[in-house]
């Protein structure tokens, strides 16, 4: 594998890592709040001293269990305190954290565990323990499974490899008694090229690949994004609150939760689950909020539903002010996110009547920086948030470059672009293919146990091939057309980027999924999945009875509704880019069924295979 970084001078001063940052913070401000997690109905607080104490105990336990530098430790859990304790402890003992998506089915978990060769698995509960036990024979290197929630495991399973979290802490405490300072000694040996985590790509095509990020990569990202204020302005601080709800094994959530927390002291609040995000948002009222397009779309759809069922006066007032917000949004888009005196005045009045309350209800009253990333999003959705006063920024990055590539900066927003390259980031667009290439110290060390794939994306001179096709806008901002391999070439020879159309469709509150097909066909068609909540509510208001998702999808009235949306979207596109026919998906797409990746991205090829008859139906002559 090609390592592009020049070997750094071996510092005599100890290497700064996220662990030393947490340790220093625990010494400087032991009593301040590092994180909160809702437990038995109240937000249990963890101070920096508690945090560091737990990290040390887990780290000692890992030493006692024989974790050597470079050993992999897997974490299969929802976001919670123990995730962070473990992640930091692993970095402290120079191990490698492997995050598994909580939704990973057993087969995928088996692949990730065996491919990474994890020695220890931290499994959240019985569900994850069961997955691991089911595939143990395929993971010979797995020596121990630590379960965090004893319910359903303790006293029922007698596999000798099982250890409870409380036992792990006891092991750690005992080890610390005997070997005081062992963790600190191990930490002192940390080098900047130590790999600290494997971030498995979601694998829309083929099996997931493990992206190796080093201490140096993460420190670079922290210096640029956190301390340098690469996203937020002013940079994040201890006074900021964040809500952690997206999978921590994804690089974006890891950055916004673990790195923002360790480097800037941002207080992390763990959502109870993805279903309770809206309620938790209201409680926590974070100041920094990162979301994937699906979340932003869903919140917007929720506003629509609740507005429809509001009393007439409220509906009229809110509709009026949302109309105003739309115009404010237009102006902000033009100015790059800076208010003009007129919009500021308008917003001020609207704040009294609508925006303050609306943002409070959405849990975004105090958001000073909101970001969307990890997938393309329709500009209309972003504009909605900008209009109601949520400072929304689209950002771009990927696991392979430690999430460092481009971002819209406050006041210099260009809607529809992913922003400007961060300071010091080299970014160019390949003249031939249009592919976006980046080069900076955050570029990953390679794919785990896959030098061929590494060579495919990493030039000898350090350029990372992102696989995204893009173009410059006004010479400063980057617009992403689509993933390279998703580009559709119709029978007429026209290159079409499906994601733009798909996002335009998904911007409608009634549609959840849209997959445009038409590669080597004479026209474009789309597989469309409706949003059960909104369409269900729509049907209910019309007195349209339905039983299941499938039943609702097959209603002629629903088809008409979707047809209307498709027609509306088609008007915005050139004739050859228009969707001529569409089919409604008979089921909600699911990770378990292999239709979505763990990050809820559609697996295009799988969809086209699974719903082949639907696709063929759309190309049969009428």
């Amino acid at each position: 594998m090609t390592l592009t970084r020049e070997p750094r001078e071996q510092e005599h001063t100890r290497t700064t890592t996220i662990v030393t940052r947490v340790r220093d913070r625990a010494r400087a401000t032991p009593g301040r709040i590092a994180m909160r997690e809702k437990d038995f109905g109240i937000w249990q607080e963890v101070t920096w001293a508690d945090y560091w104490e737990n990290v040390q105990l887990v780290a000692h336990a890992l030493l006692a269990l024989g974790v050597e530098p470079g050993d992999r430790v897997a974490v299969h859990s929802e976001n919670r305190r123990e995730w962070l304790y473990t992640d930091l402890a692993i970095v402290a003992v120079r191990g490698i954290t492997v995050g598994l998506y909580p939704t990973n089915p057993a087969a995928e978990a088996a692949y990730l565990l065996s491919h990474s060769g994890a020695k220890i698995l931290i499994a959240e509960d019985q569900e994850q323990v069961d997955k691991a036990l089911a595939v143990l024979d395929r993971c010979p290197e797995l020596e121990r499974i630590v379960y965090v929630e004893p319910r359903g495991v303790r006293g029922r399973y007698d596999d000798p490899r099982l250890t409870a979290w409380s036992e792990l802490l006891e092991i750690g405490a005992a080890h610390r008694e005997e070997n005081p300072g062992a963790v600190e000694r191990r930490m002192a040996a940390t080098r900047t090229d130590d790999v600290i985590t494997l971030i498995y790509t979601s694998g829309t095509t083929g099996p997931p690949k493990g992206v190796m990020l080093t201490v140096g990569n993460v420190e670079y990202a922290i210096k640029l994004l956190v301390e340098g204020g690469g996203f937020t302005s002013p940079p994040p601080s201890e006074r900021d609150l964040a809500l952690s709800y997206l999978p921590l094994c994804h690089v974006a959530e890891r950055a916004f939760t673990v790195w923002f927390n360790a480097a800037a002291g941002v207080q992390v609040n763990f959502a109870e689950s993805i279903e309770t995000v809206q309620a938790n948002l209201r409680e926590v009222q974070p100041t920094i909020l990162f979301g994937v397009p699906r979340i932003w779309e869903k919140v917007l759809a929720g506003v629509e539903i609740r507005l429809e069922s509001a009393s007439p006066l409220k509906r009229a007032v809110t509709r009026f002010w949302l109309g105003v917000a739309d115009r404010i949004g237009d102006t902000l888009v033009r100015t790059g996110g800076t208010h003009t005196p007129r919009t500021r005045a308008l917003y001020g009045i609207g704040w009294v009547f609508c925006y303050r309350a609306l943002r409070e209800r959405l849990g975004m009253r105090r958001v000073r920086y909101a970001a969307s990333g990890a997938a393309p999003i329709a500009p209309a959705v972003l504009k909605f948030y900008m209009g109601i006063g949520v400072a929304m920024h689209e950002v771009y990055g990927m696991s392979e470059n430690t999430a460092v590539a481009t971002g819209n900066r406050p006041g210099r927003i260009k809607l529809g672009t992913v922003g400007e390259p961060h300071e010091g980031v080299e970014l160019r667009i390949d003249e031939l293919t249009g592919e976006i290439l980046t080069r900076h110290p955050g570029t990953f060390a390679g794919y785990w146990r896959d030098p061929r794939a590494t060579a495919d994306v990493l030039d000898p001179d350090g350029w990372l091939h992102t696989g995204d096709v893009g173009e410059w806008v006004d010479g400063t901002h980057v617009r992403i057309t689509d993933r390279m391999k998703d580009i559709i070439i119709t029978a007429g020879g026209k290159n079409i980027a499906p994601s733009e159309m798909e996002n335009a469709l998904k911007a409608s509150p009634y549609l959840k999924e849209a997959v445009v097909v038409g590669d080597r066909r004479k026209y474009l068609a789309a597989l469309i999945g409706i949003e059960l909540d909104t369409v269900g509510e729509w049907a209910r208001r019309r007195g349209l009875p339905y039983t299941t998702y499938r039943d609702l999808s097959e209603k002629p009235e629903v088809r008409e509704l979707v047809q209307g949306i498709v027609d509306e979207v088609n008007e915005r596109f050139a004739r050859v880019e228009q969707i001529k026919r569409f089919a409604l998906l008979p089921k909600e797409l699911d990770h378990e069924d292999g239709e979505l990746t763990a990050t809820q991205k559609v697996k295009r090829s799988a969809i086209e295979r699974l719903f082949a008859d639907l696709v063929e139906g759309m190309y049969r002559s009428r």
Binding site: P30, I42, Q44, D50, N54, W165, S166, L169, R366
Partner: protein, 413 residues
């Protein structure tokens, strides 16, 4: 009481496995003294981040008496207004003072009927017991009726409450055996029993049509029922009743958010389910009657200090119905509703007296029809019917609705 109720208790269902689990969830059992993430007694301070009223970091915040800033502001405003009201003319002050006393009684009825769900029509009986106990304790030993000559409020007020509470405890076994309508009828029987006893027991009550002097409101030598350097008689009584109402209301609110209050609600919502989760029914029903009767007794003791004289015929079914009306119109299972309902019912006669001036066909003369007294009686009935049909949660419910309308802005839920 506040100290007691603010104790952080784990939820009822958190048995041993739950505790182990929390220990597993990030609490280091072998950690040093500073390792008290969240739940530990050392870490629970009200240090939640600013401007996030829904972010509870300790149970004490969740259960706080005044958990939102709005409540604090409203309470301060209302108290300020109540104190400013002492500048009103004396006849209105006396009326308001009577309303405050009625509110104490209504809170008492709300504890047993609203919070604990035990319908009681016998409230007048307990009020009577309190009134007579207080009158007897503070009465003139040489007088026509029974009296012990201890005029200090510090003695006769608790005594009135205690004797009434004792009566409540004696009645409670009925409540433990009966439910709903049957309990209502049985407590109704108490009123008739009481009425008869009080009419016949001349030595205590003075007999029907004659009556006896009420308790003397005296505290450390200060007479509230006489003009003094601090203000007129009406002003002294008004302030006394206001202070007492605040004390009783705060105590009731604290009770409602304590373990006892939660047990009451559980009993009310489904007594069998409550028993299954470990709420001792008999004990809590007895407690509900005892506390409710204590309030009624105190209210009874104070009620006649204003007029100074009372007749055994006052403690009839109408009085019970008036208390029920206060609770229903004010709001079931709310303290502030009880106060609002009591003031409303007490001020209603005064309002209807103004009717002849507004509506010429209404007469102030009892010999003519329609007259204000007929309208008054009809209004009680009409209001109860209207409230039960249109707003079963009473005046407080209307407030809740108004509040919810604005709180849910810009949506409807």
């Amino acid at each position: 009481m506040t100290e007691r109720t603010e104790r952080v208790e784990p939820p009822e269902q958190a048995g041993a496995p739950g505790r182990v689990e929390t220990a597993g969830r990030g609490r280091a059992p072998a950690a040093g003294p500073d390792a008290h993430p969240g739940g530990g007694p050392g870490a629970v301070r009200a240090r939640r981040p600013k401007g996030r009223p829904l972010l509870y970091t300790a149970y004490s915040q969740d259960m706080a008496l005044l958990d939102t800033r709005a409540k604090k502001v409203w309470l301060a405003l209302l108290l300020g207004a109540a104190i400013l009201l002492s500048g009103l003319p004396d006849d209105l002050l006396v009326l308001l003072a009577a309303g405050y006393i009625a509110a104490i009684g209504a809170i008492g009825l709300n504890i047993v009927t609203g919070y604990a769900g035990q319908v009681s029509l016998g409230h007048a009986f307990f009020v009577a017991i309190g009134a007579y106990t207080a009158a007897a304790v503070s009465g003139d030993p040489g007088g026509r009726t029974l009296g012990f000559g201890i005029t200090s409020m510090l003695v006769w007020l608790p005594a009135a409450g205690a004797v009434a509470a004792l009566a409540g405890v004696l009645v409670a076994p009925l409540a433990a055996r009966l439910r709903g309508l049957y309990l209502a009828i049985v407590t109704l029987g108490l009123v008739f029993l009481g009425e008869h006893v009080f009419k016949e027991w001349d030595h205590l009550t003075g007999g029907p049509g004659v009556g006896r002097p009420a308790a003397t409101p005296e505290l450390f030598g200060f007479r509230f029922d006489a003009d003094s350097a601090l203000g007129t008689r009406a002003q002294s009584l008004y302030m006394l009743m206001l202070v007492l109402l605040v004390v009783f209301a705060v105590a009731a609110r604290n009770l409602a958010r304590s373990r006892i209050g939660r047990a009451f609600s559980a009993v009310r919502d489904r007594d069998i389910a409550a028993e299954v989760i470990g709420v001792p029914l008999t004990r809590y029903k007895t407690l509900a009657f005892a506390i409710s009767s204590f309030y009624a007794g105190c209210a009874g003791a104070l009620m006649y200090t204003i007029t100074g004289f009372f007749d055994p015929g006052s403690f009839n079914l109408l009085m019970s119905v008036q208390f029920i009306a206060m609770v229903l119109i004010g709001g079931v299972a709310t303290v502030s509703g009880s106060i609002a309902g009591a003031l409303f019912i007490t001020l209603l006669p005064r309002l209807t007296q103004e009717l002849p001036a507004l509506l010429p066909f209404v007469s102030a003369d009892t010999t003519q029809t329609p007259n204000v007294f007929q309208i008054q009686v009809a209004l009680y009935g009409l209001l109860i019917v209207l409230f039960l049909v249109f707003e079963p949660r009473g005046l407080f419910g209307i407030w809740i609705r108004v509040r919810a309308y604005w709180k849910s802005w810009p949506f409807s839920y």
